[in-house]
Symmetry: C2
Subunit: 203 residues, 2 copies
DNA sequence: CAGGAATTGTGACATCTGTCATGCGGCCGT
DNA sequence: ACGGCCGCATGACAGATGTCACAATTCCTG
């Protein structure tokens, strides 16, 4: 029986190495490449054509979610497992829309990783049970693209004036978007709004 | 030759399991316990008396820095290695003050972990080279306790009025502290100030 | 095509934020 | 014991922020 061929994408070198070691212990799994960002992962996927791509979400160059989308388009048979720190319904939803077969949290026992790889390889879906329950009653993102963009940057300390200048909008318009976002999210100010949105995985 | 006995403290189960696997591959190292927070780590340290304690910083119950301090007091021979995501000079400084013998980043190759464990066990110090250079010219925290406290909460979206009420201060006073903090950090507003302070490991 | 949603804009207003000057009492170190 | 920082406070002011009402344009959808 041939081994399940896996590519591993994760930006923290030590964690990447450790996860690779973990998977390589399994006699039916072989890590054929391990890379540190979305770009490299995309190239490695084309070159190695693995059975399963295991990827983090938050990485430099290209996030795991974009990576999933692009890999799915080009190599539809390749299975994708997202492994992330973040239990955000918004992320899970986007991951599933992007065509991921698995979504599991770094909070879960290490043994679940190899098991998840095997299952998606057999065509099954593996989703963190707690999150799967949440996704049904989770509201979806009420923000428009512009609102998201502005809120994200406002949450990083950019002032209204800076936002207006860099986005070529009037200050009044920027204030309007922020006001809208704040009210949609039931927050008291831009800071709280940004935190709320981030926590739900909408930014 | 007896193995180096190690306790591993890290809150994300999957990462913890993977790091344990990584260390256990080494023939001269044995992970005698692996735990998910500072409290458990403290108890495990008393029970197992390991040679080396490998710990993350950001954990529930007790941070790795507090843990290091307390373990050092009670068991001075035990060596401590901090393994963290955060390349913050403030963290490194506090780690060394707390008596840690090693400080390495999850960004570094997996192979460095086992090597660091061996070195600190032999009485050497292991500090991430990039950070070690930075610590000499790194300014230290200019904030007073009050400023820190207020800035932390302001950065989480609490308004001036809420802060004043919950800290039993006048609104004007809260604004004064924020103003002071903003100016000390060279920021444009409370949001940027909070981010800056956080990035340096001062919050 | 009509209607709706998103984008952008203006003006006016109330409130919140950030700054500055100034003052007082307490505590620490020399 | 005295100077200097810290914590706390006030008052006043300018500028930033949040809210509201209203409107023009574009683009998509039924």
């Amino acid at each position: 029986m041939s081994k399940i061929r896996v590519i591993l994408a994760e930006d923290q070198a030590m964690v990447r190495g450790a996860l690779a070691a973990l998977l390589n212990i399994e006699s039916d799994i072989e890590v054929v490449a391990s890379v540190s960002n979305g770009d490299e992962a995309f190239r490695a996927a084309g070159q190695h054509r693995p059975d399963v791509l295991v990827t983090d979400i938050e990485m430099p160059q290209m996030t795991g979610l974009e990576l999933a989308t692009r890999v799915r388009e080009l190599y539809p048979v390749m299975k994708i497992v997202i492994v992330t720190t973040f239990a955000r319904p918004g992320y899970l939803r986007r991951a599933l829309e992007a065509g991921a077969s698995g979504y599991l949290l770094k909070d879960r026992p290490a043994s679940e990783l190899a098991e998840a790889v095997r299952r998606v390889h057999q065509g099954m879906r593996v989703v963190d049970p707690g999150l799967a329950a949440e996704i049904w009653n989770a509201e979806d993102d009420p923000l428009t693209e512009r609102e998201r963009q502005i809120l994200r940057r406002a949450g990083e300390g950019e002032t209204t004036a800076e936002l207006a200048k860099s986005l070529r909008l009037s200050e009044g318009t920027v204030r309007n978007y922020l006001s809208e976002a704040i009210s949609k999210l039931g927050a008291a100010n831009r800071i709280e709004a940004a935190r709320t949105a981030r926590a739900k995985g909408w930014l």
